[in-house]
Structure formats: C-alpha cells, structure tokens
C-alpha cells in the first residue's frame, strides 16, 4: 500500500489511476493520522514551492514526515514539485525545503538560452543513467525510455552520487535522485505510460 500525501497541490487522480492499473493499492490522505502508519509514501505536487511547504506545515505534517523519512526510513517518492521539496532550497521561494537530499532547486531562466529552450520545459524527453538504483530497474536500453516533463525549476544535487538519471534541456539536470530510502522524479511517471508504470512498479516493489 502506498500512502499519497495530499497537501492540496495538483491532481492526484492520474497517479491513483496508474497504480490501480498496475494492481497496487493506494491511500490518499491529508491527515497526520493517515501518514503515521504509512509504510511507503508518495509526495506529488504541481505548483509553487513555498505554497507546498506552507501547506505541509499547516497540515501538521512536517515533523511527522521527517520522522518517517529519517527515523523510520520508509521509502518515499517525490514527483515533480514533490521531488524539489526533497532538496534544501528553491529559487522559486524563500522557505527551506525538506532537506532530505543535499541538493538545490534552481531556475532554468537566466541559465539557458530561453529563445531556443522555452520555459517551462514541457514535453517528452529522454533520460541518461547516472547511477544504479532500484527505482530505474528494467530501463535498459535507455535509448527507448522517455518521460513527460513540465517544470520551470530543476534540481542539482550537491553530490553527484545522489543523481540517478540526468536529462538535457539547455543544460544537464538531475531528472531522478536518490538518497537511501528517499527518491525523487522530476518528470510525471503517471503521464509517461509504460515507462512511468515501470518506475511505479519498481517503487511499489521496494
């Protein structure tokens, strides 16, 4: 069972549907009580960094999530904004992130040629393997693998060993990251048909 943390950021329907398609049970909750006994967590998210961090605080989830991630070490997957929340900070906002993976979230704007590369980075793109991870099992050969992205900010790990996939869009960024039990995917697996299903299956098997 995967517990999806609902902090009011974006649509969870597609995520729930994809897990149902691959035969994995999910439970959506916005309550600390719902998160308390979770053995696997998913942080979704579309929207702004500070809004998400504020909501997590307001819903009384921050210390609980820290306990689940750092003490109980349950597997946690952050998707899109949910991955950016795993980092220390974001140029999109001023609030600190969860800081579970030493990394920063940076803006594409000012760093890439925006005449050539429009922001947000939106559409299908390929990934390159940077490090082994159970999240990306079965992806070989990588030439065939592609994911759907929509984001204006990207993640850069302080330690390259935490980067498991890289993607190039004007620059090379970390499109999937891992630090022990903490995983993040910048793209939307729930919108990336078979490739997304494979990633969700891998997470469900952890």
């Amino acid at each position: 069972m995967i517990t999806i943390v609902d902090y009011g950021m974006g649509n969870l329907g597609s995520i729930v549907n994809m897990f149902r398609k691959i035969g994995v049970q999910t439970f959506v909750t916005e309550e600390p009580a719902g998160v308390e006994h979770a053995d696997k967590l998913l942080l979704p998210g579309v929207g702004a960094f500070d809004t998400a961090m504020t909501r997590i605080g307001q819903q009384g989830l921050l210390s609980l999530l820290n306990k689940k991630a750092l003490v109980e070490k349950v597997p946690i997957l952050g998707i899109c904004l949910g991955m950016q929340l795993l980092t220390d900070s974001s140029e999109e906002g001023t609030l600190p992130g969860l800081g579970w993976i030493p990394a920063r979230t940076l803006a594409f704007k000012e760093r890439i040629d925006t005449a050539r590369y429009k922001v947000p980075h939106m559409g299908w793109n390929t990934v390159e393997k940077n490090a082994d991870s159970s999240l990306t099992e079965g992806f070989e050969p990588y030439e065939e693998v592609r994911f759907y992205f929509v984001h204006s900010y990207f993640v850069q790990c302080d330690d390259d060993r935490h980067s498991i996939l890289k993607t190039t869009y004007g620059l090379r960024f970390d499109s999937a990251i891992q630090n022990g039990n903490i995983y993040g995917a910048q793209f939307h697996p729930e919108k990336s048909h078979t490739f997304g299903m494979q990633l969700f299956r891998n997470f469900a098997r952890l």
Partner: protein
C-alpha cells in the same frame, strides 16, 4: 533533445467520438474510452480532445466523459470545447487534464485567455485558431465549430493570443480537415514565422511524409493528426492506429 510531438486530435460530439471532413459531415468513430485504451497501448505522445458541438450548442464541457477519459489515460491530455468559465478550467485540470484549448470564447472575451494563463500558467493554455481561405484566397478566422466568422486574419489573431498569454497555438486548416491532402504549409509557415510559442499544425494529415513536411517547411513545433489515426485509409472504415515510430523518426528532425 525534445521529440516533435505527434498528437491525435480526437473530436467529441458530446459523448461520442466523431471525425469531420472540412468541419462538415461527420462519421461516428466510437466510444472515447475504448479509443483511449488503444492509444495507451500505442504509447502516443499526447492526446487532444475537442468537443466540436459544445460551443455551437452553447453547452459546457461534458465532465463525465472527460473523467472517463482521464481515468484511462496515462499520457498528457488537452481538452477544448465550450470552455467559457474559469471554474470549468479548474475542474478540467482537477480531473487530470494538463491543458485547455480555447477558441470561441477567446474571440468573445480575449481577457479570458489572460485570466486562465495568470491563474494556471501559460503552459496550460492552448489558443486555438480555425482558419479557412475565402473566395479571394485570403485566410479568415472562424469560431463555434467553423460556423461563425470572426474579424481579423489568423496571423493577427495568433499574435494576439500569444500576447494574451497562450502558451501554445493549435492552428487548424478547415479546408484540409479530413481530406488526407496534406497540411496547409503556407498557412502554418505564415504563423510560425511570426510567433515565439509552439504551434501545433492541424488539418490534412494523410501520410507520415505530410507530418515531416509541416514540421520541416511549415515550422510547426508539433503536429495534430485526425483521420490518419482513426481510419484504415481514405474512404475506408474505422481503425484506431498510429504511424510507425521508425517511419516518423525518418521524417522528423531530431
């Protein structure tokens, strides 16, 4: 690098899937949900759904159908048809669609595009232009499923939609719709050369070569296909299909 998107553009008549020729006579294709399941298997890039009778019948989106579609779809989705209300836009995104396509209501109330873009981001708004050549060979803009003529020409309107905050444009040649005769390269190039936002060329796809042409010569960022992916061939029966990836790669610049 990003791949050029090839997007099945599927037409809804309320609850059924249909396909038109030159915005006129339509053929019943089938049930949208069954069709979506096939496109899932075919791993298409993205799907656009347009309810072609909603504006004409002053009807809003059929949320039940959109929900059924989103529940089966594991790819990016866009919806257009009868959207005149910002709350409807929020509801469509809540269902699991990523983008809305706005045509008729943008002509009636251009500020609507701005409001949707401000609230949900430009990347979620596709401004749609239906264009037809008049007797003098000049392009005109139409709304309400091609039944009402708007003022101005496609280029002016495209620039205005971009200025208002549309993140993408869907440019449809009404003359080529359902004809299998190839895209209107001239129309497409006249717009793509003057706007910065991605333009999805629509209307006329009959072969993979046509797709390559409108990208290569027309400057389209993405391509919408209709008849090509719902019929076995011109004048033949319904067959949901998608061009072979290898063939597409050969004609598309990477």
């Amino acid at each position: 690098m990003l791949r050029t998107r090839v997007i099945p553009c599927l037409l809804l008549n309320d609850e059924s899937l249909v396909k038109t020729v030159k915005f006129g006579a339509y053929t019943y294709i089938g049930d949208p949900v069954n069709t979506v399941r096939i496109f899932n298997e075919l791993e298409v890039d993205e799907l656009v759904f347009l309810d072609i009778t909603a504006s004409r019948q002053s009807r809003g989106p059929n949320f039940k159908v959109l929900e059924d579609i989103a529940n089966e779809c594991f790819m990016p989705l866009a919806y257009g048809g009868g959207i005149c209300d910002i709350e409807d836009v929020g509801r469509i995104f809540g269902i699991g669609f990523e983008k809305v396509v706005i045509n008729s209501h943008a002509v009636q109330d251009p500020g609507f595009i701005r409001r949707v873009a401000d609230k949900f981001g430009s990347q979620s708004v596709i401004g749609s232009i239906d264009a037809r050549k008049n007797l003098f060979g000049r392009y005109e803009v139409f709304t309400h499923g091609g039944t009402k003529k708007a003022s101005g020409n496609p280029l002016e309107w495209a620039q205005e939609l971009e200025r208002l905050g549309a993140g993408e444009l869907l440019l449809t040649s009404m003359d080529r719709d359902g004809t299998w005769a190839g895209f209107d390269i001239k129309l497409t190039a006249s717009v793509t050369s003057k706007v910065q936002v991605p333009v999805i060329a629509n209307g006329g796809a009959g072969t993979v070569r046509h797709i390559g042409d409108v990208v290569g010569r027309g400057g389209a960022s993405a391509v919408a296909v209709g008849s090509l992916v719902v019929f076995q061939g011109k004048g033949l029966g319904v067959l949901v299909n998608f061009p072979d990836k290898k063939e597409l790669e050969e004609v598309l610049p990477r």
